[in-house]
């Protein structure tokens, strides 16, 4: 008797009501969450080690007489994560401004990616600081707009993150309202999120107007915010290899490359994990592939200009630096990055010429450009410190150690956990009109 009564009650929460596997934990998902928690916890352990003993436990050391690099993996990944955040909000904004409906199914994935990447970027920079609380308090209390870091903490992590969250919320409200109408274990949450939303034609008109103007406002913020991260390096006259006007635009474009690449990878995972292959189709991937190709070609052009500039008639220090990059210590990273970026570009060009797009190949380019982007970020941060001394200091060296890798992997796992968690609470692919 008990079981027969219980069955119809449990059945709806388990199988009906929620699309895309929301609210349903399969063993694979449980394994995924546990694995992510374990990796994050290990990263946190490494971080605690660092907080308790000082940054001496990392591979970082002082410039000059200590012959090390004072910024290393953390800063490289901070730059990378901020770059990845480019994707989501750009795609979402492009959908509204240029009415690219084919991209609609990946819009929320992108918005979520932006939010998560910004959080990870902020955490990566906090991991680089010995006194995170002092940093947060002092930056609020004593922040100086003259410092290029100011843009990171205001425009990027605050303004941009806030705008992205608003965007994510505004575009999700309709789905929340539609889900709030049926019984499920998250009904209360959906009702709260929907906040009295009524799906009428007037409301849709308001939605369209709001998201359009929000998109128009976010796009310039995006360019400015990503530029400020480029300024962190580009404004330093005393560091060969950093000083240059190309840093800010180059940063924006490589941000786009890594961001779109990430979005492609994530969309491919999502369509399998949520059984939405019919929603996220090759059309969306082809669109992202074309966008990626445009950004990638621009970035390769910037890189070519950069290589010519540092090799044609360099100053003495720049020459040492370019030798280290092109044929010395960092050559394998540099040429590895070029190889993966050019390879990705060729894959995309070939698909564009034959007009035959394949999801597998587009995902492969997403992976390749992200390898290239991480390598390029590393090369922006490190070589100018070890090989860019203007006084007769010895050539420095830097190798990230396990503590830094553990923290970085922990950040990735945390990001995966957040995205996975979102997928289990809210449909990550916007619901179709019919639903």
């Amino acid at each position: 008797m008990v079981t027969t009564e219980a069955m119809p009650q449990r059945q709806p929460t388990r199988d009906t009501g929620l699309p895309q596997g929301v609210g349903r934990l399969t063993p694979t998902w449980i394994l995924f969450f546990v694995a992510m928690i374990v990796i994050t916890a290990f990263g946190f352990y490494a971080y605690l080690l660092q907080v308790n003993n000082g940054l001496v436990v990392t591979g970082l050391r002082g410039l000059g007489t200590m012959a090390g690099a004072t910024w290393g993996l953390y800063v490289a990944y901070y730059v990378y994560f901020i770059g990845v955040s480019f994707a989501g909000i750009t795609v979402a904004a492009m959908i509204r401004i240029f009415r690219i409906e084919k991209l609609e199914p990946v819009a929320r994935i992108g918005e979520l990616l932006t939010v998560v990447a910004l959080i990870l970027g902020a955490l990566a920079i906090l991991a680089d600081l010995e006194h995170p609380w002092r940093a947060i308090v002092n930056l609020v209390k004593l922040g100086r707009p003259q410092s290029p870091f100011f843009g990171t903490f205001t425009m990027v992590v605050a303004g941009y993150l806030f705008a992205s969250l608003v965007y994510l919320y505004v575009t999700s409200r309709k789905d929340a309202a539609s889900l709030a109408g049926r019984p499920s274990r998250f009904q209360g949450l959906y009702r709260f999120l929907a906040a009295g939303y009524k799906d009428t034609s007037d409301q849709r008109k308001i939605d369209r107007r709001v998201t359009f103007w929000l998109a128009v406002a976010i796009l310039p913020l995006l360019v400015i915010a990503h530029s400020t991260v480029g300024f962190v390096f580009g404004l330093q006259a005393g560091r060969p290899g950093w000083f240059g006007t190309l840093q800010a635009p180059g940063f924006v474009v490589l941000a786009g490359v890594s961001g779109i690449g990430n979005l492609i990878m994530l969309a491919a995972i999502v369509r399998v994990a949520t059984h939405t292959k019919d929603r996220i189709t090759i059309d969306a991937f082809a669109w992202l592939g074309k966008l990626l190709l445009g950004l990638l070609v621009t970035y390769l052009y910037f890189t070519a200009v950069e290589i010519l500039t540092i090799t044609y008639q360099p100053g003495a220090t720049e020459q040492g630096l370019s030798e280290a990059l092109l044929s010395g210590t960092y050559a394998w990273i540099f040429w590895g990055a070029i190889l993966s970026l050019v390879g990705a570009a060729l894959l995309l060009i070939w698909q564009a010429l034959t007009r035959e797009w394949s999801i597998g190949l587009i995902v492969a380019t997403g992976v390749l450009v992200n390898i290239g982007a991480v390598a390029k970020r590393y090369l922006i941060v490190v070589p100018s410190q070890t090989h860019g001394q203007l006084l007769p200091y010895p050539v420095g060296s830097y190798a990230p150690n396990w503590v830094e890798w553990a923290v970085v992997f922990g950040l990735f796992a945390l990001g995966a956990f957040m995205i996975g968690g979102f997928m289990k609470v809210f449909p990550i692919v916007p619901l179709e009109e019919a639903e």
């Binding site: 940054l55 050391r61 910024w71 600081l129 100086r144 410092s147 290029p148 006084l391 007769p392 010895p394």
Partner: protein, 250 residues
């Protein structure tokens, strides 16, 4: 208006590195940290080589890149030209370190060993106690913990707090008392001079007048307060030889 400057006479410097030692004793700097550093450099190819010495304190720039980039105003330039770090404000982002072309910034990667606060001695040693009266550690400059200047900020190096930046302060704790920096005071050949460069009659102004001088990397627009007299600036092919403590990287 006082504007402090240091003159370094490269024709006089003989590379004894007493200034480095005096700096470490005055400021209790931890291991592998050299607020004052003396390069021993070599130029040319064998057999036509030339050796020279170049003391390198913080250049106390009048247009300091480190002050510009500091996100919280921990690094600041006083009206008298001394560039200082507020240990209580510094968040340890190390932006000043990468922005500085002279490599004078030292981050406290960890809490200094006690051995470097008391010079490796056992403070409870009976022989030592008879001399120090049991003070532990036997020597630690108490002035470093004091707030300095009109701003009353903790800028003299203090306890070399882990996770914050530090560098040469021109011995602000001594200068504010009317003394010269420790390195200047100790130099046996008077290669280092310190004083008010805006006072035309001050000893340092008189010293640099009519002598050939240069400032390190002045082409970067930093306008240092350290004036090198005689000698030549290091060239790109100048190499450092006989580095002290090559392997000390903590």
């Amino acid at each position: 208006m006082t504007k402090y400057a240091m003159a370094v006479d490269l024709d006089r410097c003989q590379g004894c590195r007493a200034c480095m030692e005096a700096c470490k004793i005055e400021n209790n700097t931890p291991q592998a940290v050299f607020w004052m550093y003396v390069y021993r450099t070599e130029t040319g190819e064998y057999p036509d080589t030339k050796q020279s010495f170049l003391p390198r304190p913080c250049q106390h720039c009048n247009n300091p890149p480190c002050v510009k980039v500091c996100p919280v105003g921990a690094r600041f330039r006083r009206d008298d030209g001394i560039v200082l770090t507020d240990a209580e404000r510094c968040i340890g982002c190390r932006y000043c370190e990468v922005a500085c072309p002279y490599g004078v910034n030292y981050y406290n990667w960890r809490t200094p060993d006690k051995a470097f606060a008391d010079y490796g001695t056992d403070s409870q040693d009976a022989d030592l106690v008879s001399l120090t009266g049991g003070l532990t550690p036997p020597y630690k400059n108490p002035d470093l913990d004091q707030l300095q200047g009109e701003e009353q900020r903790l800028t003299a190096g203090s306890a070399h707090m882990v996770g914050v930046m530090e560098k040469c302060t021109f011995c602000v704790q001594r200068v504010d008392k009317g003394l010269e920096p420790a390195c200047v005071d100790v130099c046996p050949v008077r290669a280092l001079h310190f004083g008010d460069i805006e006072d035309v009659n001050s000893p340092i102004s008189v010293y640099v007048r009519n002598r050939s001088t240069f400032k390190l990397l002045n082409e970067l627009g930093t306008d240092p307060s350290v004036i090198y007299v005689g000698g030549r600036p290091p060239e790109p092919e100048t190499r450092e030889i006989e580095r002290p403590l090559t392997e000390v990287r903590w």
